[in-house]
Symmetry: C2
Subunit: 406 residues, 2 copies
């Protein structure tokens, strides 16, 4: 089979097919050939004719069934993939194809898995409903903070910052993506001490508080750490899903701890930032949801991260759209956020999301408690349709926050 | 601390520092600010001043110690990282930084880990020396094939192709990166049947033969599959290290099976292809070596993959240069190779590498046996300093191969 044999625009995809949308820029080939090349190399084809091909194999060829400018759609028989094996699926549709010399650029923009494949994974255990139930927060956005400085704080100082954030009004305290078990703040000590502070903050505020502790490490160590969190009364764990990888994420989900999984996407922009090459964050969001995370960072629209509004919308859509009965994943906005941005964030995200602010809380001149208060005040004002400047007249923490970050 | 506080060109890195080389293109900042931003966001800083910073934390700040055009070098205190935790290291130096709005492009071009961190990982168990000993091949390149068509062959046809390749002269038969345990060719059956063929081929040829079986899947399943391979007398396993991820790779290495680890890099070009953004393959090569793979795909210089000669050189260098006593990793050239390319490959790679050809063997008009013979003949000719056209006069398989692929 030649590359062009993988193009069949009359093909009507079956409900059992995997469908991938790619953006393709050929280098020295026609678009049709390049499109066929993508379908070939990600299914049963290669660059030359084979003596070992069989008619029953040719039937499994992926088909380019749509070419629209540089955007192509490819349908793959479900037979090509192993059930319940996400790395296997990605090795086909997001593997060697990116490196082909015949392509100047290639981007996997979307992926659709058929029900049978989706259901071979666990999906989110808690999702939005489970998280709201756990936290007892019915309809406002959740407010979270990241302990800052992101690295270096000793355990005692770490727990102090956590406590301040909680009593100020944060629902969530989270480790930063690169805190794991360094000598200055070892994992076990941190979990025990921070959860003690959580208990104190819960008692004092009458609110439910959660600590998202970062277990990112080698798989068996992650399992051990997750077990430790569960044994000590934690409710959440956090994983850097891309630097760990999907095998380990799947392993943690399949261990089926009684813990909400918060997914951090550190490193995604290495391959999502270029609109013409790589993999879209939307694809990663779908993959993470299917494997079974409960929360995922999706960008901020405003703030220090670079995604466009359209991209962030698509990421959210991937977490929220009906997907073979999977629970919805809670989107997390994080990166350069502060109280003044809350109205814009809520107008974009609605109420079902986490506003996560690190510097925008701990950078408050009066400290972390006031920073957290200001953030909750901004959320309350927006929920009640009051402008921040008006609300700030009677809420000095918000007033100060609005003066610090303009 | 502001971003610029992370720049100190008078700083002399310590032998215990982690050092990263980045290419930086700012978007709206000066290069110095952008450089400082990279160091800040990958160590203890953020976009705003913090009330929670401590003097003892400021001492841990990463430092930009060199700025040369758009190329910067950053030194990180070893204290910032957890020993034996590769995802943690990458979450710092190859994490959020790629997504900063203030950077148009950012590429991690090189990474240097200090001895203490390197030695917290296992490194290659076999490496080049161990592999040569296992195969009993002293000084020529190893010749491998990938079973093609890459997906779809039923187990019986798969093993037939494997047998033909071995008796024709291949040392190695390998699964393709997206073959795992699909219904048409389930893992356990395939391992058993292919290893039987290996035994037959060894007996008939008097040569040692190996089968690199792809265990890519969820971590516990990978461990199970690796154990199965070992229990059935296999000597190698293959992992798609990027679609699986580094946690799982580390887990497999730490299980310490008596199996050589062949690392496939499917998906790398999603983030390595753009010379201005993402992560270089050289970094991935170092990371994989430190964790402990024995063989790694590094590009082909010639063939269907897009890397430049310089990039492939750097990848090889990462596998071969002295690195705190770690064993050398065997580079694998794979992708669009055929016998006519062997002299160019050997002149570039030397003798310590694997020439892996799929289509370039199974596409031989006389079939796989002849394809494998032609490839071994091309290697023999080049080893003896004879031109392929001259050698082909007395070797018809090579003669035919030279006619098919020009």
């Amino acid at each position: 089979m030649k590359y062009v044999d993988f193009v069949d625009q009359s093909y009507k995809p079956k409900t059992t097919d995997v469908i991938c949308d790619f953006y393709v820029e050929p280098d020295g080939l026609s678009l049709t050939e390049a499109a066929g090349g993508v379908a070939a190399e990600s299914s049963v084809g290669t660059w030359t004719e084979l003596t070992t091909i069989k008619p029953y194999v040719e039937k499994l060829a992926a088909r380019v069934f749509s070419i629209d400018g540089n955007n192509i759609r490819v349908a793959y028989s479900i037979e090509l993939f192993e059930h319940g094996n996400m790395p296997n699926i990605l090795s086909s549709v997001a593997g060697n194809v990116f490196g082909l010399r015949a392509l100047k650029n290639l981007r996997l923009n979307d992926i659709h898995l058929p029900r049978e494949l989706v259901q071979s994974f666990k999906g989110p255990k808690y999702g939005v409903t489970g998280i709201r139930k756990l936290l007892g927060v019915k309809d406002r956005p959740l407010v979270g903070t990241i302990i800052k400085p992101k690295l270096g704080l000793k355990t005692n100082d770490h727990t102090k910052v956590a406590y301040d954030a909680w009593v100020g009004g944060c629902d969530i305290v989270k480790d930063d993506e690169n805190l794991s078990s360094q000598r200055f703040n070892p994992f076990d000590d941190r979990v025990v001490a921070t959860l003690e502070m959580r208990d104190r903050a819960e008692e004092e505020t009458g609110e439910k508080k959660v600590y998202m502790v970062n277990i990112t490490s080698e798989t068996k160590e992650m399992i051990k750490r997750a077990q430790f969190v569960q044994d000590h009364g934690g409710k959440y764990l956090m994983i850097d899903i891309l630097t760990c990888g999907f095998s380990a994420l799947q392993t943690i989900r399949e261990q089926d701890f009684g813990l909400v999984i918060h997914a951090h996407r550190a490193g995604h922009a290495a391959f999502t930032k270029n609109p013409k090459h790589g993999i879209s964050m939307k694809v990663i969001a779908k993959v993470a949801r299917i494997i079974g995370v409960d929360q995922l960072h999706v960008g901020t629209v405003v703030g220090k991260m670079s995604e466009t509004q359209e991209e962030v919308s698509e990421n959210c859509e991937a977490l929220r759209t009906e997907l073979d009965g999977l629970r919805n994943v809670l989107p997390v906005a994080s990166g350069g956020l502060y109280p003044g941005l809350v109205p814009a964030l809520m107008s974009f995200f609605g109420n079902d999301f986490v506003i996560q602010a690190g510097g925008g809380i701990h950078g408050h001149t009066e400290g972390t408690v006031s920073g957290a208060m200001a953030m909750r005040q901004a959320v309350d004002a927006t929920l009640h349709g009051v402008s921040l400047t008006e609300y700030a007249e009677t809420h000095k923490e918000l007033q100060e926050a609005l003066e610090i970050w303009k």
